[in-house]
Symmetry: C2
Subunit: 414 residues, 2 copies
C-alpha cells in the first residue's frame, strides 16, 4: 500500500512553523507496518492541484493537511471536489456542528464559515471536536483512478485526535485486507540500544513468517513494533516482556513524564529535582504533564558551585576535591534536595554539556546522575553522552526520568 | 526566482526525525525576500531521480539535502551526475580533507569514504568542516535545462554552517542580479503584535517602490525584514529603530537567551529564576546558551504552595488570601529569589497553565510576571495568554526573558 502526504501551508514554507505532521504520520503508520513514501509541502492556494495530479497515479492513499478553513486561500475542499467531478453540498448537520463550536466559546459565526460545512458527494465527514473545520474522507474509486483521500485540518491539536480516532482505524482496516487477522503491538524501551535489541530479537523471530518486527530509535528510547497474526504477536510480545521486563516503560504511547506523574500520584508520593547541567529541563519536562502539581514538589537549578552549597548544602570541600561533576557531589545534591524539598524522591544531575569545560579525565559529555529516596539508598551512576548542548540536555533528562522510573518500580538501577 | 527543496532521508518519512531543514531554509530565504515554493521528502535511494525530473522544468534553484554519505543508499551525487551527463572524478584534494577529518578524531577512514571525494565535472566543492561529506554546487546550464543545484549534507550541524557561509551568499548574488544593489536588514521585535507593526509600518513605506517589507511572527516575536536599494533600506531601518527602540531585541539572528547571557556577563551581573507555571523552562532556556554559567546563578521551581513558602519565604497568609497566582505572591517570589540566590536580578512567574485550575476571575492562561533587582524597584505585571500547556509555557518563558531584557536596558517595563 503506497501512502503519500501532502501538506498545504504557506507558513510551513516561510519557516514560521516546523512541519511536525510528516513525522507524526511516520510514527503512527509505523505502528501498522506502513510507511510514508513521499511527503510534499505546497503553499496555500492552487498549487495543491499539481501535487495531487502528480500523486494520483502512483498512490493508494493520500493524507492531505490544511486548507480546510474559512479564508479565501483555503481551497483544498473545492479543488479536490473539482478534480473528482463531485458537487459540493451544504450539509445542515455539519453547519450546526461548526456553529455550535463558536457558540460554546461565546463567538458569533460569520457567513464565511458556511464553506466549512460544504461536503462533496460521497464523502464521509470526519468531525472535529477541537476546531471548526471538519475533515473529509473520499474513498478510492478505481474508475476515476483516484486513491483514498483524507482531507485533514492543519493545526496539530485538531489533526492528531482526528487521525487517531477516525483515520488510523480505516488504515488498519485497509491493511487488514492484505494481511488476514493482522494485529500490532508496540513497546517503548529505555536504556538498551536499537542495535542490541535488534541483535537479540531478530534471530528469535526470524523463522516466523507470520510475524513482522520493526524498530525505531530516538533520544535513548527504542520503539519495538510487532505485527502479524494475533497468536504470533501475542507469543512474541510475551517473549519481549520476559527479556526487557525492566526496560519497557510502556506498551502504549504515553511519554515517560506522564507515566511518572501517574505512578507518583497513584502512590501519593512526590519528587523534587536538583539540576546542574540540564538547567531545569527535568523539572520542565515533568511540568509539561497536566496534573504534575500532584507529583513535583519543587526543583532546584543549582548551576553555580555556590548555589550547590547554599541551597542544597553540598560540602564546598567536596567540590574543591572532586569537582562539581563527581559522584560525591551528586550524592550530596540528591540527598540535600530530598532534605530541603521534603519530597519522597530526589533526582540530581551534574555534567559537562560543553562545548567548553571538558578535561582528559572528564571529557565533554560526562555526567553523574543520582537518586535519593526517603528510606532508600542513594544511588549515583556515571554516564557519557557527548553531543551538542541541546541534545545532551535532552538525552540526560530522559536518563534521569528513567532512573526515577526504575526506583519507583523497584528495579536495579545500574 | 523559483526555489524548491528536496529532502532525502528514510528517517524523515519514518518519523524518527522531524524535518527542520524546510523551516530553516524558509527563514533564511525570507531574509533575502525569497521563498521556498515547494518542499518534497523522498526516501534514501533512487526516488530522488523522479523528484528532480519533476522539479527541473519549473525551478531556478533546487536545494537538495542528504544522500552524500558513504553508505550504499547515499546516491544523490551519482544520480545528479548521471542525469546531467557528467562524469565523476576522484578529487585528491577533497579526499585528503575527508581523510583528515577522520585522523583528527583518531579514526581510520575506510575505502567506502572515497565516494565522498567524487566530484562531477564542472561542480564546485562546498567544504564541510563539521563532517566528512562535502557539499556540491552545480551552476544552472540553460542548454540542458538544469537549474542551479545545491547538494548539501543531511545533518543540521553540517548543513547550517555550509548554507550560511557558502550557499546564502550565492543566492544573494542571484537575487542581486534581478534587483540592482539590493540589500536587506532584519529586526527581531518583542512585545508588539505582527498586525500592529504591519499597521504602523506599511503606510509609512508603501509609497517607496524601491523598498520591500516583510513580517514573520512566532511565539511573541516578530521578525521585520527590509529589502531594497541601500539608501532606502538604511532610511527605513532608522525609522523602524525610532518607533520600536525599546522593543527591538536584536538586529541580528541571536536568540534572546544569548543576548541576555552576553549582557549579564558583560556587566558582571547574574540572574536567578523563581518559576511556578513555567516549571523550569526559563532556567532551561538560559542554560541552552554556552557560557550561561557566568550569568545564571540558580533557579527555583516552586511548584507547590509549600515550596513557595519554604524555599522563597513567601508568606503563607498571602497565598491563602490572594491565591498562588497573584500580584503580591509573585512580588514576594521575586524578592525571595533575589535574597536566597544572592543574584543581581530575579525573575518570577506564577500562572495557570491549564487545562484545569482556572476560575472566572483568573481563567486558564492568566499569569503574573515579576522582576526584582538589587537596588531596583520590584515590578509585577499581569498577562493573559490562553493556549495549550506547552505553548503557554513557551510563550510565558519568552515574556519573562523580555522583562529581564527591558530591566537590563533600563526601559519601562509595562
Amino acid at each position: 500500500m503506497r501512502i503519500e502526504v501532502i501538506n498545504t501551508g504557506t507558513e510551513l514554507l516561510l519557516g514560521k512553523v516546523v512541519n511536525t505532521h510528516a513525522c507524526y504520520f511516520g510514527q503512527e503508520l509505523f505502528k501498522l507496518g506502513l510507511r510514508v513514501q513521499r511527503q510534499v509541502t505546497v503553499p496555500d492556494g492552487e498549487d495543491i492541484r499539481d501535487a495531487l495530479v502528480d500523486a494520483f497515479p502512483r498512490t493508494d492513499v493520500i493524507l492531505i493537511t490544511g486548507g480546510l478553513g474559512p479564508t479565501s486561500d483555503d481551497v483544498t475542499r473545492e479543488i479536490v471536489a473539482a478534480m473528482l467531478g463531485l458537487d459540493l453540498q451544504l450539509r445542515e448537520d455539519v453547519l450546526e456542528e461548526v456553529n455550535a463550536f463558536f457558540k460554546v466559546r461565546g463567538l458569533t459565526p460569520n457567513q464565511s464559515n458556511d464553506r466549512q460545512a460544504m461536503v462533496p458527494d460521497g464523502a464521509e465527514v470526519l468531525s472535529n471536536p477541537y476546531g471548526t473545520a471538519p475533515g473529509l474522507y473520499l474513498p478510492a474509486v478505481d474508475d476515476r483512478g483516484s486513491p483514498h483521500l483524507f482531507l485533514l485540518p492543519g493545526p496539530p491539536r485538531e489533526l492528531k485526535p482526528m487521525f487517531k480516532d477516525l483515520v488510523f482505524p480505516k488504515l488498519a482496516g485497509f491493511r487488514g485486507g492484505n494481511n488476514e487477522a493482522g494485529v500490532w503491538h508496540n513497546f517503548k524501551i529505555y536504556g538498551v540500544g536499537e542495535s542490541v535489541i535488534a541483535g537479540q530479537l531478530d534471530p528469535l523471530f526470524k523463522a516466523d513468517e507470520s510475524l513482522e518486527i520493526g524498530y525505531c530509535a530516538r533520544l535513548g528510547e527504542v520503539d519495538v513494533r510487532l505485527i502479524g497474526q494475533a497468536d504470533a504477536v501475542e507469543n512474541a510480545a510475551e517473549r519481549v516482556r520476559e527479556i526487557y521486563r525492566q526496560d519497557i516503560i510502556a506498551e502504549s504511547e504515553e511519554p515517560i513524564e506522564k507515566i511518572l506523574v501517574d505512578m507518583l500520584s497513584g502512590r501519593d508520593e512526590t519528587v523534587a529535582t536538583a539540576e546542574s547541567c540540564t538547567g531545569g529541563e527535568i523539572a520542565s519536562s515533568i511540568t509539561n504533564v497536566s496534573g504534575s502539581s500532584r507529583a513535583l514538589l519543587s526543583g532546584f537549578v543549582t548551576y553555580s558551585n555556590e548555589s550547590k552549597t547554599a541551597i542544597l548544602g553540598v560540602d564546598p570541600e567536596l567540590i574543591r576535591k572532586h569537582g562539581a561533576v563527581s559522584r560525591p557531589v551528586v550524592e550530596e545534591m540528591a540527598e540535600g534536595c530530598l532534605r530541603v524539598s521534603g519530597a519522597d524522591h530526589a533526582v540530581a544531575v551534574s555534567g559537562i554539556a560543553g562545548p567548553d569545560g571538558g578535561s582528559e579525565e572528564k571529557p565533554v559529555g560526562t555526567v553523574y546522575l543520582g537518586i535519593a529516596s526517603r528510606g532508600g539508598e542513594t544511588f549515583v551512576k556515571r554516564c557519557f553522552s557527548p553531543s551538542d548542548r541541546i541534545s545532551f540536555k535532552r538525552r540526560i533528562t530522559r536518563l534521569a526520568l528513567d532512573l526515577l522510573r526504575r526506583r519507583l518500580r523497584g528495579f536495579p538501577l545500574n
